[in-house]
Amino acid sequence: MMSELLKANLVAHFAYYRRSRLLLAFGLVFLFLTLVFSLPAFILSSHVQAFSVLQRIFSELNGLLILFSAGLGLFIISSHLRARNLKMVFTKPCPPAVWLGSVFLSAVLVSLMINLVILVLALEVSLVCRMRVVGGLFYTSADTFAASVGLIAYLMFLAIVMHPVIAVVFAVIFSSGTFYTALTWTQAAIEAGSKSAALRVLKNVFYFFYMLLPMNHAFAKESERIEASLRVSRGEWHYAFYSLGYALALSALCYGLSLFLLQKKRLI
């Protein structure tokens, strides 16, 4: 019964992705940028220049993919809540847990598919330009996928709690990165000799929010370095698995909170 419900919901969600004009526009921009960014790599004769272009394209596409994935989670939840059509689903023997799970799974599958398309494109460019296929491409893909999974779950949760526009603003401004920057400033001021008690309180507040809010990349420094060089040593692969582990733990937390709030929400 559960598999039938999951299948029915997944089919409906994929239809939503196919027909959402907002996602279509986003996808077209994505495709356009892919084509524009890919052209120089085919034209440039030097392997060094081509590699540099490939690295930049790959990095930018993965960045766009993370944004796109976050959008998937946000749009599908908020559009169903605004359309108030969930009462057609939950007045049938389809538990909210299954519906929410299917939404998450569908967004993750779409994200994974695009992730693989980008990876295949990068591999093709490498082969066409006679460059060595580097492990960093696979590492960055895996890391991007992990970041996408975490963000999908986080934006789904925010979309249930608040209006989608506020959710986006919240996700951008109240990110762990913002509080990390604020934390380093206060830390620097304290280390420079400031004895202000308020500054110490602020430091703790920033630290609390830095720890509380989810990170886009669990191992941002390591990932950035690998993404910049597209070189990964055997000992660095575990960061990708840790990132995925972090994303799954974050997803489980967001899923639980989202489910709780969805059941409490007035769906009429």
Binding site: Y16, M88, F90, K92, C94, L267, I268
Partner: protein, 307 residues
């Protein structure tokens, strides 16, 4: 089938949290096999009551039991339950066929294509099956909602103003489908402002006013409240008897009502005056008349409860 006991639903609205009593001690019982009508003015609490029965709203206090269980969204209780919302809150990005299949699949069983085709054909939707719901009229969306009820064995169907804003041809089709479902044993609970429609379909009716059920009875009892009156029409030119209540006077014919206790006196009056009596029948109240009288407090509610 449905038992609601002393159900209160209170909301808070606005920044100041102004309290609103959507339901205020609602008591109601729907029996198995009923075609149950919920009638009342706008804001009386009909839709809120339905949301409570569906588990979409939890009562602030009181209890609601549907088929013996407390309704929880998405639970197994909904096997055999279907709901058609008032507003077309459907998955507008799906086509007619996809939506029918999707809603039918949410019962957790595989849905053969043959059943979907039959349901679409029954609701005259075959030529529109590839049309997205976003481009369908309200009537077509309601037909999609009914099509899924025809696929599964629906035991309990909730309808919130199903024919509001729909053209008469589709209304007839919906009524036929509802009668068919009821004949097949489904219990139907319907909200409607169209009292003539309720009179055609329902066998039991509850009148809700300010969150309370003020009358709940068999439709036949509610529509025979005026059996103490006779509807008469006669040729009349001059003064009318004081016990005669005039409703219409045209082309020398007066139409109105006479109390049953004074019927013989009235007949005697027409005979003596040489006036031709054109019509004389026991006045049967329409649901609309009863509804309005009950709301105005013209009728003794005890009389209704006892009937």
């Amino acid at each position: 089938m449905i038992v609601a006991e002393n159900v209160h639903v209170h909301f808070r609205r606005g920044l100041l949290g102004e309290p609103i009593r959507a339901l205020d001690g609602l008591n109601l019982e729907v029996r198995e096999g009923d075609f149950f009508g919920l009638v009342g003015q706008n804001g009386a609490g009909k839709s809120t009551a339905m949301y409570c029965f569906l588990g979409l709203l939890r009562p602030t206090t009181g209890s609601v039991r549907v088929m013996g269980a407390i309704p929880e969204i998405g639970s197994k209780l909904y096997n055999g339950v279907a709901y058609l919302p008032e507003e077309p809150h459907y998955h507008l990005y799906l086509t007619v066929e996809e939506a029918t299949r999707y809603y039918a699949s949410l019962y957790g069983k595989p849905v053969p294509q043959k059943l979907i085709d039959e349901a679409l054909e029954r609701m005259d939707l075959v030529q529109f099956k590839t049309l997205p719901l976003s481009k369908c009229s309200k009537g077509m969306k309601q037909k999609v909602g009914l099509a899924q009820c025809l696929i599964h064995e629906t035991r309990l169907l909730f309808l919130d103003e199903p024919t509001r804003g729909i053209d008469p041809v589709v209304v007839l089709m919906i009524r036929d489908a509802l009668r068919d479902l009821h004949r097949r044993g489904a219990t139907i609970v319907m909200n409607s402002h169209v009292l003539s429609e309720m009179e055609m379909l329902a066998n039991r009716v509850a009148i809700i006013e300010r969150g309370k059920v003020i009358v709940q009875d068999e439709l036949k009892n509610l529509t025979k409240l005026d059996q103490d009156l006779y509807k008469v029409a006669f040729e009349s030119g001059g003064a009318l008897p004081d016990y005669f209540t005039l409703e219409e006077r045209r082309d020398g014919v007066a139409a109105g009502t006479v109390p049953a206790a004074r019927l013989y006196e009235f007949i005697e009056y027409t005979r003596e005056s040489g006036l031709r009596l054109l019509e004389c029948s026991l006045k049967k109240a329409t649901l609309e008349e009863s509804f309005l009288k009950i709301l105005r407090g013209d009728k003794d509610l005890n009389q209704i409860h006892q009937s």
